[in-house]
């Protein structure tokens, strides 16, 4: 049990690291996208510029209290989620919740966003939310199967316990390759990136959840996105890649985890929502179930 000061430090540090690493990931994502599209890509600090720009806007349009609170929930939920994710040297409160709790805490931002968008009274936003929730339904099912397999394999629901196990034995990806593949697939959906990002629809903003988001609302979403990428990477690393013994190893792993699907996915066209559901419920579920059969 960590002492109180240590814990307080963790409470501050863990989200902050997550934010910084997440920013780097966003940058990486943009760079990869640019390279694949034969562009140069943004400068190093571009994500920070973006955030500052968004927060600094003069017109900040609110559609009501829930609009604000929704955004607070969206960001706050991820901030809380980071504390459930053990990183080298810092366990946060990972032993108090575990993977199931984490999965459900991760739904809080979605719910917050949904509530906030709903308050905007813009049907385009609502349509986006309805698609987002459908997408959640799509990727959560393979994801949860993977979680089940992993938890059964490690005989634990605690992330800390899982990492310890992997560090003693070997990485989960070697013990459960099929589950790892399925998990990667689900991760793709979870990150809300190509080719499963129709609900965000950054190019056709009129039909996405962001339709009424401007200024710092958009900025909040940007922050959320950084957390989102970080969370996905860390979660996958903890489940399959043995966490990290030290920070270097850890960072390399999570960047690779995020980079691979990004690079692969960017060459694919975008899927419609129902196609996404169909594809998510078909391949990763099938692979994961076979994987579970091996685990059991």
């Amino acid at each position: 049990m960590t002492s109180v000061t240590e814990l307080l430090a963790e409470l501050l540090l863990m989200p902050f690291i997550a934010f910084v690493v997440g920013l780097a990931m966003v940058l990486m994502y943009r760079k990869i996208a640019a390279r694949l599209q034969r562009r140069i890509g943004p400068p190093l600090l571009q994500p920070i510029y973006d955030i500052v720009k968004l927060y600094g806007k003069e017109t900040q349009i609110s559609h009501g209290l829930i609009h604000d609170i929704g955004l607070v929930m969206a960001v706050g939920g991820y901030v809380a989620a980071e504390i459930f994710l053990p990183v080298p040297g810092m366990d946060g409160i990972a032993d108090k919740g575990g993977i199931i709790t984490l999965s459900y805490v991760l739904m809080v931002p979605s719910l917050g966003l949904a509530l906030g968008v709903g308050q905007c009274a813009n049907p385009n936003g609502s349509i986006g939310i309805s698609r987002a929730l459908t997408a959640m339904l799509a990727y959560d099912i393979p994801f949860i199967i993977v979680v089940f397999g992993v938890a059964t394999h490690y005989q634990s629901t605690s992330l800390v316990g899982m990492i310890e196990y992997q560090q003693i034995h070997q990485w989960g990806i070697f013990e459960m390759p099929l589950l790892a593949v399925a998990g990667l697939f689900a991760l793709q959906g979870m990150m809300g990136k190509q080719p499963f990002e129709i609900y965000v629809a950054p190019a056709e903003i009129a039909t996405g959840p962001m339709v009424e988001m401007s200024g710092k609302y958009m900025g909040g979403l940007f922050v959320m996105q950084t957390f989102q990428l970080y969370t996905a990477g860390v979660l996958y690393t903890s489940l399959f890649l043995g966490g990290g013994a030290n920070w270097f190893e850890f960072l390399v792993k999570i960047f690779i985890v995020v980079a691979i699907p990004m690079s692969v996915a960017l060459v694919f066209p975008r899927y419609r929502t129902e196609d996404m559901v169909r594809i998510m419920w078909k391949w990763p579920v099938m692979v994961a179930l076979i994987g579970i059969a091996f685990v059991l």
Partner: protein, 645 residues
Amino acid sequence: MSVLDDLLLFTALASVAIIVLRRFAFISKFSVVVYVLATVLLIKMSALGYGGEAVYSSFTVNVLGQVLQWRFDALSWFFALITLVVALFTALFMSGAWGDKYRKEHSKEAYGLLQVALILNVLSMLVLLASGDLLSLFIGWELVSWASFMMMALNPDKVARKAAIKYIVYAMAGAMAILMAIAMTYNMTGSLDYVQVMQGMAQLNNSQIAVLVSLYAIGFGIKMGVIPFHLWQATAYAETPGAGAVFMGAISARMGLYALILVIVQIIGLTRVAAIEIPYTFLDMQNALAWVGALTTIIPTYIALKQNDARYLLAWHGVGQGGYMLLGVMIADSIGTAGGIMHVFNYATYQAALFMTVTAVIYRTGTSNFSKLGGLVTQMPLTFMVMVVSIIGLAGIPPMNGFVSKWLIYRALLLDGQPLLFVAAVIGTLGTILSVYKLVHNTFLGQLRLEHQDVREAPLSMLIPMLGLAIIIFATGVMPGVVLDWVAAAQIAIGIAPVEHNLGGIELVQGGLNMIWVTGVMFYGFAVGAIIFYFLGGKSKHIHQYDNYAGGHFLTSKVRYHYSNHFYAGLMHLIGGWYRNIFIKLEYALVSLVSFMSQLSENFYRSSQPAMLVAAIVMLALWYIMSADGSAPVLVQGLQGGMSK
């Protein structure tokens, strides 16, 4: 006179009093007092909730060689507590503005009858919970069924009437299955007393147990609305008049779970159930029941997703949530059972709160149809808040109480190594999240309709119970240990190892749960989020909802700019074809079959020649008798033998 006597007698007398006084205006306050006093009497037995000895009633009836007796153990106490608390909140809810309106819209008599139905429901449930042997269990069971029927039948609309009659037919079928099972139990074990039956069960073979379990499961399952008996419940509960729906939706169907736990878990024992293999499948009977629970979470939840009326959506969720409880109980380890039992409490609180919010919305706007609602959050913020708290509970998202019980169930499934069940449960949860968002979005979010511009917040008398329930939902979510104490006592009572818990949740080596921490961190996260939001960046300004992005159009109050119809169009595009109304068709086929048989029989009774029947039956009876004596060839020989004699 034990405390149990006091409680039952008090409730019975209160029922009489309410029946007599039902037309008076003060009845609403009176009934609140009644439930408070009853709760106080129940709390006097609170030792039960912490592992105390069972309380017996001093009143017994000796009939037909059976001794009917009544008693309370920890499980009954737990259910009784939920019942009385929900009843108290319901009474509080209907005592104020809602009751006045109901009185005005219908009649004093109608309101009085609602109160009567409520107290009769409570009384019958207490009698059921207090039952000390299978016969008194059955009596209590039937009383509950008919009290529920009375409650449902109070709505004079055609839909409601149909639903009520459907319910009572289902309930009768269930009761008959139970009666069959009880009769068989009596003959197999020689007694109906719980203890003796429990001992007698040890001597039975597997096929006997299988028959008993299936009959009991069918009987109790019908009340719970498990697959494939789920068709009656949602409409019946949704169409019950407002406050009645709060009570019915929250607790009524759970009596089925109580009886199921009592009989199948406690008396028969899940090890016996698990020992029964179902031929041609990989399942044993326990797994089969668990699968019934899992299917019950999925199918009704996705039916709920399609509903376009808040009451129906909630009622369908009620059916689905029952599946979690069954699933949890059927996992049979201490964590799963704890989850199942605890879910009853959690479910009761948020379901009551949800029905209250919907009733409040109906009270203010006159409708619960999604197509006619929207944007009420600005008008009814507190109601909205209660609804959000409750749907977070319903969806099983931390930090509300629904999460804890679901966590326990998932955890047990994980440890038990039941991947498919686990996935099924999660699919149910995801469906729940989708549909509760639909509920909250279509009711409170989005565009406010013109006719609802001057809708006000729900009156205080309705807000108080709603807020009270919301506080309970949150508090027991943060400190599930309060409820888990009772659950653990109940587990001991039914012969299962109690779950190891503390105030914040579960202590487990392989990953526990501490809700105090979880909640703390979540609120810390929200605080950080709030700081980021409120202290960085410029000040935001509020705009009118018509001042919205509309692709260049000007929005006016005449334009409906709200997305509520066909909410999950994309999803439905994919899974819409999977709704095949199989069970409705099945039900219809059954009715058609009965109708066909009925016509056949009627033709028989219309025979043109009366003597034909006499001749036929004499011949057949003689033939039966004479061939029963020997066999058909003997008949011919008999003729010869008789001749040659």
